[in-house]
C-alpha cells in the first residue's frame, strides 16, 4: 500500500508540474500584462515594463523563476489589484471552502440515503420519483436552477407571505457588517448550498443506487440472508460497506473538481471565492493570478485523487495487499 501510494504521489507531482507548464505558457500566450501600455507614445515605457516583469527573457527562464518562487510560497503580485496573489487566493479559498463544506456534507448524506433506498426498494414509486428527480438534476443548467431558486425562495416567498424583507438572501455570505456563525449566515448560505447540493445529489445517488444493486444481487448477501442475519443488518453491515467503495472514489474525484468548479455559483451569489477571483482575473487579463489559480485548482484535483486511492484501500482490504 505504501509503495502504491508513493508511486501515485510521485506521479501526481509530475502531472502537477506538467499542468503548471501548460498554465504558464497558456496565460503568457493569451495575456500580455503590458497590453495597457500599447497606446503610450514613448515606446521605451513598454520596453522598461517588460524588462521589469522579466518578459524579455526566454519563456523557459521565466517559468523556472516562477516555479522556484511558487515552491517557496511566493505566487507573485497581481498586476491589476497590486495585492500578493497568495493572499488573494487564500482569502478566496476560505469562502469557497465554507460553501463546499456544507454542500458536500449534505450531499453525501442525502445521496447515500437516496441511493440505498432506491436500490432496496427497486422499481417502487419512491425509486421512480428519485430517479426522475436525479435525471432532472443532472440535466438542469446550474445557473438557471439558481435563477429559479432565487425567484421562488426570495421573491415569490416574500409576495406570498406578505413580508417586507426576504427570508433568504442571494448576495454574499453575510449582511454588511455582520460576521460569524448565526441566523444571518444561514439565511445567506441556504441558496448557494441548495444549488450545489442538488447537482451533487443527482449524480452521486445514481452511483450509490447502481453500486448497491450490484452488491445486493451478489451471492454473499444471499448467504447472509439465508443464515438468518436480519435484513436491516445485511443492508447496513454487509451490503452498504462494499457498495460504498466505488461511490467514495467518485465523490472524492468530484470534490477535488469543486475547488475550481464553483465559478457559476459564486458568480451568481456574489461570493468572493476562488470562482469569482477566476472570472475577474480572466476579464481583467490578470496573468499572474490565472497561472497560480490554475495550479492551485489542479493541486486539489490531484490531492483528492490521492484521497480517493486512500479511501479505496481503507474500504477494500484487498487493495492493501496488492
Amino acid at each position: 500500500m505504501i509503495q502504491f501510494l508513493g508511486r501515485r504521489l510521485l506521479y501526481s507531482i509530475v502531472v502537477l508540474l506538467l499542468a503548471s507548464i501548460v498554465a504558464f505558457v497558456g496565460t503568457r500566450i493569451a495575456f500580455d500584462p503590458t497590453a495597457r501600455l500599447a497606446q503610450v507614445r514613448d515606446k521605451q515605457v513598454r520596453e522598461r515594463e517588460r524588462e521589469r516583469l522579466g518578459l524579455d527573457k526566454p519563456i523557459a527562464v521565466q517559468y523556472a523563476k516562477w516555479v522556484g518562487d511558487f515552491a517557496q510560497g511566493d505566487m507573485g503580485t497581481s498586476e491589476v489589484t497590486r495585492q500578493p496573489v497568495a493572499t488573494m487566493l487564500g482569502s478566496g479559498l476560505g469562502y469557497t471552502m465554507q460553501l463546499m463544506l456544507w454542500a458536500v456534507i449534505l450531499s453525501i448524506i442525502a445521496a447515500i440515503a437516496i441511493g440505498v433506498y432506491s436500490a432496496v426498494r427497486q422499481y417502487s414509486a419512491g425509486d421512480y420519483i428519485f430517479t426522475t428527480i436525479s435525471f432532472i438534476g443532472i440535466s438542469i443548467p446550474p445557473f438557471w436552477f439558481a435563477f429559479i431558486a432565487i425567484q421562488f425562495f426570495v421573491f415569490q416567498l416574500m409576495a406570498w407571505l406578505n413580508l417586507s424583507r426576504p427570508i433568504f438572501y442571494f448576495v454574499g455570505l453575510h449582511s454588511t457588517g455582520a460576521s460569524g456563525f448565526n441566523i444571518d449566515y444561514l439565511q445567506h448560505l441556504f441558496l448557494p448550498v441548495l444549488v450545489l447540493t442538488v447537482q451533487n445529489i443527482a449524480g452521486w445517488s445514481r452511483y450509490q443506487r447502481a453500486s448497491m444493486l450490484d452488491t445486493l444481487n451478489s451471492d454473499y448477501i444471499r448467504t447472509a440472508r439465508a443464515k438468518g442475519v436480519p435484513r436491516r443488518q445485511v443492508i447496513t453491515r454487509h451490503a452498504l460497506r462494499n457498495a460504498l467503495i466505488p461511490v467514495v472514489t467518485v465523490m472524492a474525484l468530484d470534490i477535488g473538481l469543486l475547488f475550481g468548479g464553483l465559478v457559476i455559483t459564486e458568480q451568481i451569489f456574489s461570493i468572493p471565492g476562488m470562482g469569482r477571483i477566476f472570472v475577474q482575473a480572466i476579464t481583467n487579463g490578470d496573468a499572474a493570478v490565472l497561472t497560480s489559480w490554475t495550479v492551485v485548482a489542479a493541486f486539489f484535483v490531484l490531492l483528492f485523487n490521492l484521497i480517493a486511492d486512500l479511501a479505496y484501500g481503507w474500504l477494500d482490504p484487498r487493495v492493501r495487499v496488492a
Binding site: 497558456g26 493569451a30 443548467p141 445557473f143 435563477f147 425567484q151 465559478v263 457559476i264 489542479a298
Partner: protein, 298 residues
Amino acid sequence: MPIGAELGIGGIDGHKPRSQWQLFRSRFLKHRLAVFSLILLILLIFACFAANLVAPFPANQQDLVIGAVGPNAHHWFGTDELGRDMLSEILYAGRTSLRIGLTVAFLSTLLGTLVGAVSGYFGKWADQGLMRLTDLFLVIPQLVVLAIAIQGFGSTQVVIALSLAALFWMGEARVVRGQVLALREREFVEAARSIGASPMRVVFRHIIPNCLGPILVGATLAVAGAILTESALSYLGFGVQLPATSWGNLLSSARGYVGTPQAYLIYFPGMMILITVLAVNFLGDGLRDALDPHGSNG
C-alpha cells in the same frame, strides 16, 4: 438472410436467429422513455433548423409598441423588452445550441475513440503517452482552458465548438481504451491478425464496431455536456456573442429579470435547455440498455 443460415445453422427450436440489429431494435423500443425522447429530439431539431418555416414570427422582429408582455394566445412564450416573440427567438437560437452540441459530440467522440483505440491496441509507449495526456486534460480546470482559448482566439462559434470538443474526449478515450484492451485478446481479433489483416484493418473493422455501444452512449453525454457548458460560458460572457443567439445567451441576457414581472423571460430558454439535455440523457440511457450484450434478448 440471418447470419449462419447459408451453413444451415438454425436458431434454437428452428426459429430464425435474430440479427444484432433486430435485437437492438426490440430492446430499444421497450425503453418507452428513450423512444419518446428520440421522437422529441427529432421534432426539436426539425423545429429549430426549419425555424423560418415553423416559427410564428420572423427572427429578430421587434414590436416596440407592445414591449414585454407575458405568455398569451398570440405569443405563447411572451415577448421580450423589444417586443420580440420569445417562441420564435428560442427556435432560432436553438439552431446555434444544437449545432454546437452535435458538432462537439461528433468531434470529441471521433478524437476520443481514436486516442482510446490507439492507446489500447498498441499499448506500450503510445498508451503511456496518450493516457498521461488524458490525465493532464482531466486535471486542468475546464473553464480555465475554455476561457483562455476563447479570450485568445475570439468567441466565434467555431472556436467555442473546437475548444469544447478539446475538453470532452477524455471520458470516451478511457472507455474505448478499456474496451479495446479486452477485445484485443479475443479469438476473432487473433483470427483476423493471423490471416494478415493490417493493424488499421483490425482496429477499424473488427474492434471498433464491437465498442459501438459505449461510444454512442459517450456521444450522447457529450451532446448534453456541450449544451450545458455553452450556456454556462454564455452566463460568464464567454459564450456565443450577440447578435448570434443561443439558448445560453438568451437566458444570460434575461438574468436581470429575476424577481420582476418579466421573470417568464428566464423560464422558457432554460426550460428548452433542460428538456433537450434531459431527452439526450434518457436517449443515452436507452441506448446503453439496448446495446448491452449482457442484456436480455427482449
